[in-house]
Structure formats: C-alpha cells, structure tokens
Symmetry: C2
C-alpha cells in the first residue's frame, strides 16, 4: 500500500481529489457584507420559512445540498457519501437534513472547523478509492447559536468587544475522483490545543494557538512555508485571534503577514456591520470558501491556498464548570483548477 | 487508483486493517453484569474521582486511551490519529480527553453509532495509507446522559418499560496497517432513516429501521447473508428494538434469528438488573466490543461478525419541537485473527 502519510500530522493523496462544484446559502446580514455577490441563495427571513431557528438551519443545509446537486448536474443517487456536522446540540441540523435522503452519511463534530474537517475526510474517502463523489457540508445560524451558547436573543445582552457574530449560512462542496476544478493536494490534521483561555466571549484567542500549531505542522510535515501560498485562510479567528496568530508566528520566526486572511473578517465589514471582532461559526468559513475562495481558485486568481478551519471545543456545560476552551484547527491545501 | 467501493453504501479495504489492541473502562452496574470479567478497568465510583459526571466521562476516555496505549506497547507519539465522539453536547468528553495530548484528532457525532463510525473511518484512514495506527474511541455515562437528555437524577422520574439504561463506560480500539488480531474486511455506511417514531423513551424502535437498512445494504452490496456470519451484533436496540429488527427482516424474507445479538442485552442481565429494555449509549457497544467480542474473535471462538453501531439522532430540542427520531447504523465486518 502506498504510504500517504507525511510527518506527524499530514497526508498527501496520490491523485488529488477535485472540488467540481460548490454552493452557499446565506442570511440577510451576510448577504449585505463584502461577499454578498458570491452566495447562491440569500434569504432576508431569519426563519427561512420554518417555524424554529433550528429548523431554519436544517433548511439552509437542505438548500445548500440541493443547489450543489443542481449545479453539479448529478442526481442524489450519484452522491456516495455526505460528511457533515454543525454547532447545534447533537448536530440535528445535519442529521435532519439527511433524513430519509438515502444518501450515506457520516456525522462530524469539529465545532467551527467542520468545513475543513469534512474536506479532509472527503480527501481520505475519495483519495483512498472508498467513494467517487463525496459532499462536505456544514452550517451555522446566528439565532440558534446565541440561544444555545449564550443568551436568549430577547434578553438583549451586551456584547463584549472581543465577541464575534455567528454567521447564518451553509456551504457545501463536492469532492470527486475526476472532473475539473480546484484540487485538494494535502491535508493536516489538528491536535486539541489549550493554552488556558477561559473567556467564552473571546474565542479568537482560544483558537489562535491551535491555528498556529496546525499551520506550523503543515509547513514542517510538507517542507513548505508561507511563501508557497497565495493565501493562508483561517476560519473564524476574527480580528483579535488573527492578531494573536500573527504574533505567535512572529515569535517563532515565521512571517504570515501579507498572506493571512480570516473568513471572519472577509464575510463581514467589521468597521460597518457592528459584528465586533468579526464573523464566526461553522458557516463562516463554509460560505467564504464555497463561493469567493473556490471561485478565485477556479479562475486562477488564486493559485494555492491553505484553508484552515478553526474550532473552539467548548460547551455551555464546560464553561459553567469553569474549564478552559480547547481549540482545534484542520488544514487543507487547495490548488487552483488551471494550475 | 483501486476502486474499493462496493454497491451503494459499502467498501472493502485492499489490505484489511488489523485491530491489534483494545481497552475498556466500565462503571459499577456494568461491572456487575454478564460481561464484567472482560473489562480492563472497573470503578464503583460514579464520579471516577472527578467533580462532575461530565468530567467523569472525560476521565473514562482518558483511562481507556492510556490502557490501550499500555496494552499495545506503544507510546503516544506512535498514534497517528484518534477518531472519537460522545453524547455530551459539543462532544466535550472526547475533546477534553485529547486536550494537549499532541495526538491528531478528528471529532465525530454519530450518537450511539460512534464506535462503529470510528472503526469505519479508521478503516479508511489506515486502508487508504493516510495513517499507520489509529484509535477508534467513544464513551457514555448514565448520569450525564440522564440529566442532559431526560431529567435530573434527583427528580426520581419513573422509567417506561421500553426505556433503556445508558451504559457508563468507554471503549477504545487500535486499528493498524500491520500486526496480529481481528481484521476489518468490509464496511457499510448508514443512511439516516426515520419511520416517524416520536417516543424518546423508545429509542430501540426508532433505530431498528436504520439497523435493518444497513444490514440489508451490507448483504446486497457484498453479496453475502446471515449464513456467512457467526454473529450479527447491533449496538443498543435493546429487547424492543431487537424484536422489531427481527420482524423487519422477516417481512423482507431474511432470517436473522440465531445470529442476532444486541450489545444492550449483552452488557446487562435485563431480567435481574432493572434496566428495562436493556443497555444503550455510545459506551454500550464500545465496551461489549472492546473486551468480549474482540476477545472471542482473537481466540477464534468467533470467526466473523457484522458489528452494527446504532444511533438515535435526536436532541432534547428536536423532541421539544415535536420532531420524530431519525436513526442511523454503520456496519463493520470483523473477522477473527486466526482465520
């Protein structure tokens, strides 16, 4: 068997799987942001026509999956497997989306790193010959997250300057063993990193060490560096976490400046949209990738990116019990379709 | 690339990965049950020396992982990857176990199907050459589950006859690309199946259709049948769900009688231990597998089993919103080490 493992945390598929199609669904605030023109489906109704916010989240994933299948020209029975997860307790957004769809499903929990985790596992599934066409998908919803993790919206709680705004959106990507489009050429699996941050309103700070750990491992395992990438894209560190990541890299003698962008500051205009430190949530990196980033990789405007999904592995229970916030980050190297 | 996909839902690794070691941790009631002698670590303290039940669950996983590493003769740095998940909101049992362990980690949510899901993904990772040594792990805890899904224990709620008893335990298995032990020769990925069961105290009934769907798919995809197995082992259908599964198969012209066993009725003596319909939870199939079943496969007492992890993909929120309970089941075919 060919050994595809590289270093401690990374692997390289023999034949890089192709992302042949992608789709995104976004809420009102996201659609008014800088990437608004790149989303496939936009809704100004927080409930997306459903009775509850949790059902709205399920509906977004259903719309993303249906749009993806439509854009790819395939039918449901052509999809071999869906990897998906979300932030709702017991990931009901994902499982109810796949209910009675007859599509094989493997559920994930990687918090806001799920878009990267699902792409990484799709690379294993397709790259190992276990499946031909796999969907990587996730979602988040501002209102369902606020009431689950923080306060009921009606309570009108004050937000701290370091807090972030959970993105209402869903993204889905189709990873195939043939076809044309951007390719996944390497992946780095994250470790759970915790430097003791306990402030649940400062998730960027909690995730920055994990992000740097994975970026560093990717460089080391694959003998590469920031100079080999057009962009290093983190999922949802926001402005605070992004600054911390730059500082962690700098102390280690690595300059990420000029290459680093964070989806939390791409999706929203942080100066105008009152989202404090930026966007967050599984949907944040998902809608930035399944539109803007994959679009620029397709046209060749971007040639190579390191897409790093960042997740804060806390729960309201762990916070109430006084525990710190562990972070995780998974890295996926994507190269442009025309390269 | 070699095509390892078979039929709609299954795949067959070219070189079957080997389960070279396994470990289990169990609570008091489980240790008093029929499989008590097969567990590595037994505790009569519900808190496992911790301050909260959630921390106890984390501690069980840590003990299972440490015991597994000890039994395998490896060190932490030899483990390439851990696939794990649990029932706690945001899977904090798993993420806090891996915190600062420096072991790459991919989090899963498959409810009580997690032991099978993690073995299936380990098969992809090892069988595809992406990793050499992977841990598949999960846990559940009676007290943390009761308060999260149902009532605070102090409330003293009555249990219905169809209800099941969440197993307090954790199981971990080491899946390798070489070595001796039982081998994973085929896997079947489940679809999310929902026939409209809404009673959260009758999860066996909610999961039975998913179990049959996966068993049927395994037979169809791999041109096999019950006659080719010593045992078909479901995760936690309990007595009610097991009878329903037998009936679903019978109506389809398939006889599972004599081959079907359910971990929920293996772990507890349902007649004597007051667990109503049987055991349940991620830990149920995990401790039945990582001791009793793998032990019998190692000695050759069992030659071939189809291990079917069953999961009920509900959440308290979905139940409160009046939604039915979708089920999922993943199948892993394991053959004896000496065969």
């Amino acid at each position: 068997m060919t050994d595809r493992k590289r270093g401690r945390q990374s692997f390289v598929p023999e034949v890089p799987p192709v992302i042949t199609a992608w789709a995104s669904v976004a809420g009102k605030k996201e659609s008014e942001g800088p990437l608004g023109h790149t989303f496939d489906i936009k809704s100004s109704d927080t409930y997306f026509g459903q009775k509850t916010w949790e059902q709205a989240e399920k509906h977004m994933q259903q719309q993303a999956l249906n749009k993806l299948i439509e854009k790819s020209g395939l039918s449901r029975s052509d999809i071999d497997l869906v990897f998906s997860g979300d932030l709702l307790n017991q990931c009901i957004g994902s499982s109810f989306t796949l209910r009675n769809s007859h599509i094989p499903h493997l559920g994930l929990y990687g918090a806001c790193s799920t878009m990267a985790e699902s792409l990484l596992l799709s690379t294993m599934a397709v790259g190992g010959g276990f499946a031909h066409r796999v969907v990587a998908m996730t979602s988040s919803h501002f209102a369902s997250s606020e009431r689950q993790y923080r306060f009921p919206l009606g309570y009108g709680g004050q937000r701290t300057p370091t807090s972030q705004w959970t993105v209402t959106g869903s993204g889905a990507a189709l990873v195939c063993d043939s076809g044309s489009g951007p390719r996944i050429t390497a992946c780095t699996i994250g470790t759970v990193t915790d430097l003791g941050i306990q402030d649940a309103n400062n998730m960027g700070a909690a995730m920055a060490p994990a992000a740097y750990d994975t970026i560093r491992a990717h460089f080391e395992d694959l003998k590469t560096g920031p100079e080999d990438f057009d962009r290093i894209v983190t999922g949802d560190l926001g402005q605070v976490g992004k600054e911390l990541l730059l500082e962690l890299a700098r102390r280690d003698g690595v300059s990420l400046g000029g290459k680093l962008v964070d989806c939390g500051t791409l999706v929203f205009d942080t100066a105008k949209q009152d989202v404090h430190a930026g966007g967050s949530g599984c949907g944040c990196s998902a809608i930035a990738l399944c539109g803007h980033l994959l679009g620029e990789l397709k046209t060749g405007k971007l040639k190579k990116i390191l897409f790093c999904g960042t997740g804060a592995l806390l729960s309201p229970t762990s916070t109430q019990q006084g525990l710190p916030i562990p972070g995780v980050c998974h890295g996926v190297c994507i190269t442009g379709g025309r390269v």
